[in-house]
């Protein structure tokens, strides 16, 4: 590289910190996402609506500690490290108790402590000059971006995972086997649903296309699900999937096979109008799913449960309201077309190691998951406490019902041990302080969730899409080779944006709404 090019690198680092991705992500979490989580969480409701608690704004104050003699003092990271404290900030939430119709004035309630990332917006060290940092006992070169919990420095390492809410096609076995699968990992508000659509030759009689999703044991035929989502007629199903004759014939076969299982009386059908027939088929499909979901219950309950399951657990990222069923049906139809294209060898299955299909979950995202679960358990505990005090006849008081320990301990325990919600272990690690370079390298680490004991040859290889993003050289030798990666030098991790914003923008630019198109 010529000398002039190095100037560019210097300019980059004058502006950006080496662990910017952690700090920006955490700032976003603290400034925006915590409030969103609190707003979205189901409010506490007691006694069939007699009482309810409304939540307002969250305030986070800078870290301080109460000494044994009662005096308050600001806690700086050095002191936290030496005295084995947790460098955390107190959170105060505006909560108002609503009794019947009257709303009591909102009060600021202390709900717990949130461990603080060093050099983030709410940290004391944010924006201090070199001299001021030295005055506080901090190394001015220290990059920050880690937490101090119980006196030990813990870094939350970035997790690399397959992109959620995206259709991933893969082939099972050889090309000749004619088996393939389409997977969508649908994530909404922390709830992970894995929807699998598979094409394979059934052992005995049966359909070729099957789909499975959470809370429904086993697999159900795709055509049944499409029916249940509102595509009553055969024509709707077949045309929404594809225009290719071969694919349409496949679907027609499946419809035939599944209709046989329905035990339909042809005479009944002849008497109905088109609309009645549609509704009849939809009803039958919903009943089929109901049988799977809640066996042995009353028919009314079964239908309700089936509809509930379809709305909440099938493709939740599209939406959980009944109005979204049509959109979900079109989505599934698209999935089917892509899958059939793989079977007919028109389309290549997705490369799971291509970086387009991967997302990095930085510390802010992981803290978000953790906070969501901790806050939910706090609300549950509050409900219990309020109910108990009601049962005793005392007036429920929000301040007394809140046990701040629940939230604090939950978050602290997860960061201290590394055992995260969702079963992952090793998410938070003791910061490597072997040398300055060791610390920087640890903070810029990217870990893959694949198991270390399996070979996973293709996942360990250096993939060309990692050019410029992941370092080609830095990876450990031994069982972790290629699964533990490090970010390249000039990498900036962008934050996700709201899909609604982008949808509005492209609609403004003239892209037609698929739903509207389908209807016309």
């Amino acid at each position: 590289m010529k000398k002039s090019a190095w100037g560019l690198v210097d300019a980059f680092f004058n502006q950006y910190n080496l662990v910017d991705h952690h700090i920006k992500s955490y700032n976003d979490f603290v400034n925006n996402r915590i409030q969103d989580i609190i707003d979205i969480t189901e409010p506490i409701v007691l006694e069939q609506g007699e009482y309810s608690v409304k939540t307002g704004k969250l305030e986070i104050r800078k870290p301080f500690t109460k000494e044994a003699d009662g005096s308050k003092s600001m806690v700086y990271p050095t002191e936290a490290r030496l005295r084995n404290l947790t460098y955390s900030a107190h959170m105060y939430l505006d909560m108002a108790l609503i009794k019947g119709d009257e709303e009591q004035p909102p009060e600021k309630v202390y709900i717990g402590e949130l461990p603080l990332m060093l050099k983030s917006d709410i940290c004391h060290l944010n924006g201090l000059s070199e001299r001021e940092l030295i005055a506080k006992g901090e190394d001015p070169q220290d990059p920050g971006g880690y937490f101090i919990v119980n006196g030990s420095e813990r870094a939350i390492v970035t997790m690399e995972e397959i992109a959620p809410n995206k259709i991933i096609l893969e082939r099972i076995g050889e090309v000749e086997d004619r088996r393939a699968r389409a997977i969508v990992t649908s994530i909404k508000s922390g709830f992970r649903a894995r929807i699998t659509l598979e094409y394979r030759k059934p052992r005995k009689k049966g359909v070729f296309l099957r789909i499975s999703f959470p809370y429904v044991p086993g697999e159900i035929p795709l055509v049944v699900l499409l029916r249940a989502l509102g595509m009553g007629t055969d024509e709707e199903i077949v045309t929404s999937v594809s225009d290719e004759k071969d694919m349409q014939f496949l679907l027609i076969d499946d419809i035939e096979t599944s209709n046989q299982a329905f035990n339909i009386e042809p005479k009944e059908l002849e008497e109905m109008t088109l609309k009645e027939r549609r509704d009849y088929f939809i009803h039958k499909a919903v009943k089929y799913i109901g049988n799977r979901v809640a066996k042995g219950m009353t028919e009314e309950y079964r239908i309700k449960r089936a509809e509930d399951v379809i709305d909440r657990y099938l493709l939740p990222h599209i939406g959980v309201e009944p109005e979204k069923r049509e959109e979900k049906a079109i989505y599934l139809a698209e999935m089917t077309e892509m899958l059939l294209q793989v079977i007919f060898e028109v389309r290549e299955p997705h490369d799971k190691d291509h970086y387009t299909n991967k997302r990095l979950r930085v510390s802010g995202d992981l803290m978000e998951d953790l906070f969501r679960v901790a806050f939910t358990s706090l609300t549950r505990d509050m409900t219990y406490q309020l109910e108990r005090s009601l049962a005793r006849g005392k007036e429920p008081s929000v301040k007394q019902a809140v046990r701040s320990d629940v939230l604090t301990e939950n978050i602290k325990h997860a960061i201290a041990t590394g055992n995260w919600v969702g079963g992952r272990a090793g998410v938070s690690q003791l910061l490597d302080r072997t040398s300055y370079m060791g610390t920087l390298s640890h903070l810029r680490r990217v870990v893959s969730p694949l198991s270390r004991s399996q070979p996973h040859f293709e996942a360990r290889d250096l993939h060309p899409t990692q050019f410029g993003k992941i370092c080609p050289n830095e990876t450990p030798e031994g069982p972790n080779c290629g699964l533990v990666k490090n970010l390249a030098l000039l990498v900036k991790i962008s934050e996700g944006s709201e899909p609604q914003e982008i949808e509005d923008l492209i609609k403004k630019m003239g892209v037609l709404d698929s739903l509207v198109e389908a209807k016309s």
């Binding site: 490369d351 190691d353 291509h354 070979p455 040859f457 360990r460 290889d461 250096l462 993939h463 060309p464 899409t465 050019f467 080609p472 050289n473 990876t475 030798e477 031994g478 069982p479 080779c481 290629g482």
Partner: protein, 869 residues
């Protein structure tokens, strides 16, 4: 410990009857409480002192021995209701299936019974295994009607894991026990249960033996709390439920509750024996972790068998970092003094070695060579201190054992893990040296696969005379010079030994007599008579060869020209040794190198291992002396090629790239001729790889023209010391095509590898051909492709080491009982013949000639040479 030697004649596996269990127990366990408030163990509780003690200092109440000595004593729990033992569930199921439900006789008619009885008697006499016969009996003995009492039988199924179901009705363990009691002894013999050691009903437990406290010790945490072992927790559970069951039964509780509690008791006893039994949820600790009960203690890699019995931690062993020492013989190992003073050798004191041993004790434990302990005939071990050593010396008599320090000449076992073949553990002679590392002669690195980048190795000191003798005669390093894998030497010269020998013996290396004598002194070779004249290197080397050695071969540096000029070879690569004199040719890798040493090979086979060791020791030391005299170095100048070479290489590579372009054009226009059996893409790829490979090789040849034998890097590559011409080619001329999984770089963005290229580009550079040499430097894209290829190599190594370990374990487990018998057959421990002759030819591969049974060429040559004299 002294004692009478007994020979084990038989091991019988049987069951304990409830009477046996009660007899061997020292106390009945009733309460689930372990300790009382003061911290004392409760009587008739689980930690009863009669069961044994773990605290040093307390005395055991039953046997009176102190803390460390008491092995513990069993207790017993009387179960309120019988419970099925989960390990025998299958056996019980099969037995019930094969016997009648009312009369208890086996479901075979009398003839069959007599038949089987005879067969079993015969098999017992022949010492054959009856397992297959029993299996057959179980499949046959299933009839719908009992042949003895005409009772109808119903289907008996087993509900995982321990409930027996007959038809629709679930049998309680008591009922099962009753049925098993009805089975007479002769019938139980047919069912595979030897009535002398076991009765079928004993598989249902009525008394549960409680293991002693030593089997499930408690740990005291640093907070002062006592944490109980998992087994104790489980026994507490069993006791509690047992108590509740008894109370409920006595108080006359409804049937349902009694059955429920019985089920729960069965569950607890099942998980007590095996917590990972299928069909049963594992019992968990409060923290959520599953308990480790009896079966888990035995199973798996960390279980009793694999981790405490087949392999154990041993005393008298040592482990440190290794470092090289060319001045040791290959048989020797350099042991740090600290280690030598810690690991000792036991020596019996006799009247003939009294004086010597007294000297050791006089030195004391701190001065080497000294002694650490004296063991009297009454087995008391006395530690030797500075102050007490005089008294000890006075009292010393023949018959004592003295544990003295390790000294020079002792035999020890030296080992590096992973121990994949038998040469990973060899016997060495000790040489005690200062400082803290084990020292190893370099020639012996290949069998251990050791390098000196921080490797550690283990040393074990033999404690008995027999083992020492066995090691000295069978396991010494010199015995393993030839490898049983391919019949050639695996111990030999490496790296500098070979380039040194080349420098010594090539044409034009002439030394003054005093230089020669300096080198010989360094090599510890007995000095010859002075001649007053200059010596050639070849004459020098001939001093090491035995006097009647005759070998002829082509050296490693041979260019393999079409017409071999033999003795007139320009490269001096035709080696001729006549009567122990090196007449022509240079000494390099083919002479005494680690994997292909011909001279070494012949010396081992014709003169024995002692002579081979001497030869190897002196030849390597001489080569080092030679290279120190001549001087040897390398630098990047060694890979420098002149401008015109650069230009020629550029030209060549450009031509190759344009040829590749033409191939791609032809492919795109469908003009490409496919190779037989391959598709168009495959043909294109193969042809391109061929063109680019040739280009790299040819550019290497161009560079080679400008390398002479004065170039040290070339010397190392050509003599086989280190590196190859490919390395030099990549540094000087062109690195070449990178490959991932056998082909050019394919994966990446859609239809192209990197976004720097157009979609659909198939050219050389776009698919990983690195144009530049290492010396010129790679451009960023070439660097990335090179990293891709390199990563595949690292991943491969990492995966391979894990899988090779598993493969080796399976092979060893399968082969370890096989041995060659005096009748030349290969049999296993049962006596079954595996091979009628070892390897089908009866040849020990270590003694064979690179796999050939007989080296005919050599024999013919010897005869020729002998007859020409």
């Amino acid at each position: 410990m002294k004692g009478i030697l007994k020979k084990i004649s038989q091991i019988n596996f049987g069951l304990m009857s409830p009477e046996d269990i009660r007899k061997m127990s020292v106390t009945k366990i009733v309460t689930p409480d372990t300790y009382d408030e003061d911290g004392y163990p409760i009587e008739a509780g689980l930690m009863d002192p009669r069961l044994g003690v773990i605290d040093p200092g307390l005395k055991c109440r039953t046997c009176g021995s102190k803390g460390g000595d008491c092995q513990g004593h069993f207790g017993s729990i009387n179960l309120a209701r019988p419970v099925i033992h989960v390990g025998f569930a299958d056996t019980i199921h099969k037995t019930l299936r094969s016997t009648c439900r009312s009369c208890g006789r086996v479901l075979l008619d009398n003839n069959e019974i007599k038949n089987y009885h005879e067969k079993i008697e015969k098999m017992f006499k022949n010492e054959e295994s009856v397992n297959n016969l029993i299996k057959e009996i179980y499949t046959v003995a299933r009839k719908d009607k009992c042949p003895h009492c005409e009772e109808e039988q119903e289907d008996i199924k087993i509900d995982k894991p321990v409930s027996i179901v007959e038809g629709n009705y679930k049998l309680t363990p008591s009922e099962v026990r009753e049925r098993l009691e009805k089975i007479p002894d002769e019938d139980s013999l047919i069912l595979g249960v030897n009535p002398k050691v076991a009765r079928p009903e004993w598989t249902i437990l009525t008394v549960l033996p409680v293991p002693p406290v030593t089997v499930r010790p408690s740990i005291t945490l640093e907070t002062g709390e006592r944490s109980e072992d998992d087994l104790t927790h489980k026994l507490v559970d069993i006791l509690r439920i047992n108590q509740r069951l008894k109370e409920n039964m006595e108080a006359g509780a409804p049937q349902l509750i009694v059955e429920d509690l019985w089920e729960l008791l069965q569950y607890h006893v099942t998980t007590y024996f095996d917590n990972e039994a299928s069909g049963v949820p594992p019992a968990r600790h409060r923290s959520g972790r599953p308990l480790k009960t009896l079966a888990q203690r035995l199973k798996g890699k960390e279980g009793r068998f694999r981790s405490n019995l087949s392999g154990k931690r041993v005393n008298f062993s040592a482990r440190t970092v290794i470092s090289p020492d060319p001045n040791l013989s290959i048989n020797e190992v350099g042991v740090p003094e600290i280690i030598a003073k810690e690991v000792t050798v036991p020596v019996y004191v006799t009247e003939w070695n009294m004086e010597e041993i007294k000297k050791y004790i006089q030195n004391g434990p701190k001065v080497h060579p000294g002694a650490n302990y004296v063991i009297r005939p009454d087995e008391r071990k006395i530690r030797i201190y500075e102050e007490t050593k005089d008294t000890v010396i006075e009292k010393l008599e023949p018959g004592f054992i003295v544990e003295r320090h390790l000294k020079d000449g002792d035999i020890v076992l030296f080992n590096r893990q992973p121990s994949l073949h038998r040469m990973s553990m060899m016997a060495h002679e000790v040489k005690v040296l200062p400082y803290k590392t084990f020292r190893l002669n370099l020639c012996v690195c290949p069998p251990y696969n050791a390098d000196f980048d921080g490797d550690e190795m283990n040393m074990h000191v033999f404690q008995t005379e027999e083992s020492r003798a066995e090691a000295k005669s069978l396991m010494r390093v010199q015995e393993h010079i030839l490898s049983p894998r391919f019949g050639g030497p695996i111990i030999g010269g490496i790296h500098d030994h070979i380039s040194g020998a080349y420098l010594l013996t090539r044409e034009g290396s002439i030394f003054r007599e005093e230089e020669i004598f300096q080198m010989l002194k360094h090599a510890k070779v007995p000095l010859p008579k002075k001649t007053g004249k200059n010596w050639t290197g070849k004459q020098l080397f001939s001093l090491l060869l035995p006097d009647d050695l005759n070998v002829v071969y082509r050296a490693e540096i041979c260019r393999k020209c079409d017409e071999c000029l033999k003795k007139e070879c320009k490269n001096d690569s035709y080696v001729v040794i006549e009567d122990g004199v090196l007449k022509s040719g240079v000494i390099d890798d083919k002479a005494y190198g680690a994997f292909s040493g011909k001279i070494l090979d012949h010396i081992v086979k014709e003169y024995g291992t002692d002579r081979a060791r001497e030869f190897l020791d002196s030849a390597t030391k001489l080569a080092i002396a030679g290279i120190m005299k001549k001087g040897f170095t390398t630098s990047t100048n060694d890979e420098e090629i002149p401008q015109e070479a650069r230009e020629r290489i550029e030209e060549l590579l450009d031509k190759a790239e344009s040829r590749v372009e033409r191939l791609i054009e032809a492919y795109k226009n469908d003009e490409l001729e496919p190779l037989p059996g391959r598709s168009m893409e495959e043909t294109l790829e193969m042809k391109i790889m061929q063109v680019l490979g040739e280009a790299r090789d040819k550019s290497g040849e161009i560079a080679e023209i400008y390398f002479g034998m004065e170039n040290h890097a070339v010397i190392m590559a050509v003599t086989g010391a280190r590196g190859s011409m490919l390395n030099l080619t990549q540094i000087a001329a062109c690195v070449g095509q990178q490959s991932v999984r056998g082909g050019r770089i394919k994966r990446g963005y859609s239809e192209r590898t990197l976004p720097h290229f157009q979609k659909g580009e198939l050219g050389a550079r776009a698919r990983g051909f690195v144009h530049s040499s290492y010396k010129q430097g790679l451009d960023p894209l070439e660097f990335f492709f090179h990293a891709m290829g390199g990563r595949e190599g690292l991943v491969d190594t990492a995966i391979r080491t894990a899988q090779s370990g598993y493969m080796q374990r399976r092979l060893v487990n399968a082969l370890q009982d096989l041995s060659v018998n005096p009748d030349r057959t290969v049999r296993d421990n049962r006596g079954i013949i595996i091979q009628t002759m070892y390897g089908e030819d009866g040849v020990d591969p270590a003694k064979s000639d690179y796999g050939k049974v007989v080296d005919l060429d050599r024999i013919i040559e010897e005869i020729r040479i002998k007859s020409s004299k």
